[in-house]
């Protein structure tokens, strides 16, 4: 509340956002009935003065409370509301993707419905986006969550993602993000990928910025996350890293992976043969050959997998080409 003034939208800023024609706010909702009305009021306050056409897409992710009914009622007061109701609970990533797909704006903002994000950050995000970014991520530097169960694991995960993927984003878990429409149309989120949006965007060449946003403590409802996802994050991160590095050339990737097995295998084989066939044959056990052949077998197996990988991505080559074209267009538009 106290830094309200700093956030009030200036006239200068209002003129700048005119370069965007339509704003879509995508908000996944899962049992957030209590929070919806204050959220809409805050959104109206924050987005209203921007002088830009806006739609608020609430994606109901199979809520069991009366979230949808409340949204319907709110729609009379806030005509910008659009409701996308999913058949059941499909998870945050799927809900976000559904919202993205139904969004029409040339600028899209995603945020949580739990009021922990502050809609007043939206104008700042848009402004930052105009500086020439495709994606601006919120950074909850001053997080209002339990430290041990939420903040610490998140800090560790973010550190790991920074190290492994190389994006300089401090807070990958923050839902409050602003995207250019073209980026959103290109993104295809699945499984639990909402944690890696910045990483995936960076892979397709997006320019990524970061902005410190406010984070508030939860008032209504319960948090839907726990600590039990470490292995999932690790496994996803590993997969993403390898796809980022070798996704377009799997054979090379698997060749690299196979090297530590092929090399010792061949060396051992040479050593064994040298001993057996050399000038003074020495008695040796079969075990050496067996181990050498096992290693070489694994090496062959991994190379063959690499070939399968090549087949897999070649079937979808046009898609990769589309991505390249999009980035070319963006460069033209940016300058």
């Amino acid at each position: 509340m106290m830094n309200l003034d700093a956030r009030t939208v200036s006239l200068e800023h209002r003129l700048q956002t005119a370069s965007f024609r339509k704003l879509s706010v995508v908000i996944p909702v899962y049992n957030e009935a209590e929070n919806l009305e204050p959220l809409c009021a805050e959104l109206e306050q924050a987005v209203g003065p921007l002088n830009i056409e806006s739609e608020w897409i609430f994606v109901d992710d199979g809520s069991s409370d009366d979230s949808v009914a409340r949204l319907r009622r709110l729609k009379h007061r806030f005509p910008a509301i659009r409701i996308v109701k999913l058949r059941r609970n499909f998870g945050q990533t799927a809900a976000m993707q559904a919202g993205f797909e139904k969004s029409a704006g040339d600028v899209v903002v995603s945020m949580d419905a739990d009021l922990q994000n502050d809609p007043r950050d939206i104008p700042c995000l848009l402004k930052k986006l105009e500086e020439g970014y495709d994606l601006v991520c919120g950074w909850r530097r001053d997080r209002k969550d339990p430290w041990i169960s939420r903040n610490l694991p998140s800090k560790m995960a973010n550190w790991l993602i920074r190290r492994v993927i190389g994006t300089r984003i401090h807070d990958n878990g923050c839902s409050l993000k602003a995207y250019r429409g073209e980026l959103v149309r290109m993104l295809r989120l699945y499984s639990d990928m909402h944690r890696f949006i910045a990483a995936v965007s960076a892979m397709s060449g997006a320019r990524i910025g970061e902005l410190i946003v406010t984070h508030r403590a939860r008032k209504h409802g319960a948090s839907k996350y726990g600590i039990s996802r470490t292995f999932k994050v690790l496994s996803d991160l590993f997969a993403l890293k390898l796809i980022a590095r070798f996704g377009s050339k799997p054979l090379l990737g698997f060749f690299t992976l196979a090297l530590p097995f092929g090399l010792p295998g061949f060396l051992l084989l040479v050593f064994v043969l040298w001993h057996r066939l050399g000038s003074s044959p020495q008695p040796m056990r079969v075990v050496n050959e067996t181990v050498a052949l096992l290693f070489i077998g694994t090496w062959c197996f991994l190379l063959l997998l690499g070939l399968i990988g090549e087949m897999a991505i070649n079937a979808t080559r046009p898609r990769l080409k589309d991505g390249a074209q999009l980035i070319l267009e963006e460069l033209k538009g940016g300058n």
Binding site: R188, Y190, S235, G247, F254, N288, L305, G309, R319
Partner: protein, 329 residues
């Protein structure tokens, strides 16, 4: 691919264009068939009590060539019968999928080509579809045929129900009712048709199972060769994978592979220590082989998981993670 595989025989003209019948009945004629004319008469008589606005869609595999003659005869007098013929054998799930995609009715029923349930069951299923259920499956209960071979089926359904989180007891009972929207979205392939309720539930449709009276002539159910059980077991495994890891194969292969490789690595480390510091010979120890095999097998498993990830990633655009029920503008 699929459109090429199915060859349309002449369709009665009254049903062409945008006309949508109230009820479609899809009959895949795949494994075996009883008197199809009688089957048609029994069920159409029951349907007629509700509406005359229905169609029957028969999908015939080439292996069931004998069925074509009687179906053509049936078609001659009945404009409500449509007949499709596969030009190659693709199995029951493919025939079912082809039928579901060609049925035009608002409520789509599937019916086995042999006697399974009494025609009166239609009414029950129809009522439930009217009560806003998306998918209604039937269970032949109480059974009148022999109990021989029921036990594997019981185990099979128990596991399948556990895995999918929805209880169903008779996946091979072919009489089901499906709303058109659900039928359009459901993908049934391979040997997955017994899991239709589980697949539908996963997509978020309202699924319900009812007890149906078994047809007095249904005597061959439950007797299967070992091949059928093997394929069902594999289907069960497929279901498990589909439910848990279809979008994240590395979570499965990675866990299995990493555990295996770690075990192998530990064994090798232990043996290395023995060799280096205690000077014991390794060549005679089978443990060395085990360690090396586990290590390498684990690495290969992780590699397969990575291939899976590449596949999922590069096909992400075509696949859909969610089902929209409605949009309110």
């Amino acid at each position: 691919m699929e459109t090429k595989a199915v060859q349309a025989l002449p369709i009665p003209t009254e049903y062409e264009g945008d006309r949508v019948p109230h009820i479609s009945v899809v009959v895949p004629v795949v494994e075996r068939f009883d008197d199809l004319e009688r089957l048609y008469k029994d069920f159409s008589a029951e349907i007629s009590k509700v509406t005359d606005d229905f169609e029957f869609v028969f999908i015939v595999e080439p292996s069931q060539f004998g069925a074509l003659a009687s179906l053509r005869r049936l078609m001659a007098g009945e404009p409500r019968v449509r007949l499709f013929r596969f030009n190659s054998s693709f199995g029951e799930a493919a025939a079912l999928a082809a039928g579901l995609s060609r049925a035009r009715g608002e409520f789509i029923f599937t019916l086995a080509s042999y006697y399974q349930v009494r025609p009166e069951t239609f009414r029950q299923v129809y009522e439930l579809l009217n009560q806003n259920k998306d998918v209604v499956v039937t269970r032949r209960y109480p059974r009148i045929d022999s109990n021989f071979g029921r036990f594997p089926s019981f185990v099979f359904h128990w596991i399948a129900s556990r895995l999918s989180g929805i209880a169903f007891h008779d996946g091979s009972c072919g009489f089901r009712g499906i709303r058109r929207e659900a039928a359009r979205e459901l993908t049934v392939y391979g040997d997955l048709h017994p899991f239709l309720p589980a697949l539908a539930n996963r997509q978020g449709y309202r699924v319900v199972e009812i007890n149906a009276l078994q047809h007095p002539l249904d005597t061959r159910a439950g007797v299967r060769g070992p091949g059928a059980y093997a394929s069902r077991l594999l289907a069960l495994f497929t279901l498990f994978f589909l439910m848990k890891f279809i979008k994240k194969p590395l979570r499965f292969f990675g866990a299995v592979g990493a555990a295996t490789a770690f075990a192998g690595f530990s064994i090798c480390l232990y043996l290395t220590v023995l060799r280096l510091f205690y000077g014991s010979a390794l060549a005679d120890r089978p443990l060395l082989m085990l360690g090396v095999l586990l290590l390498l097998g684990g690495v290969q498993t992780v590699g397969i998981g990575l291939i899976g990830e590449i596949l999922v990633f590069s096909h992400a655009r075509e696949s859909k993670d969610y089902q929209i029920e409605s949009i309110m503008e």
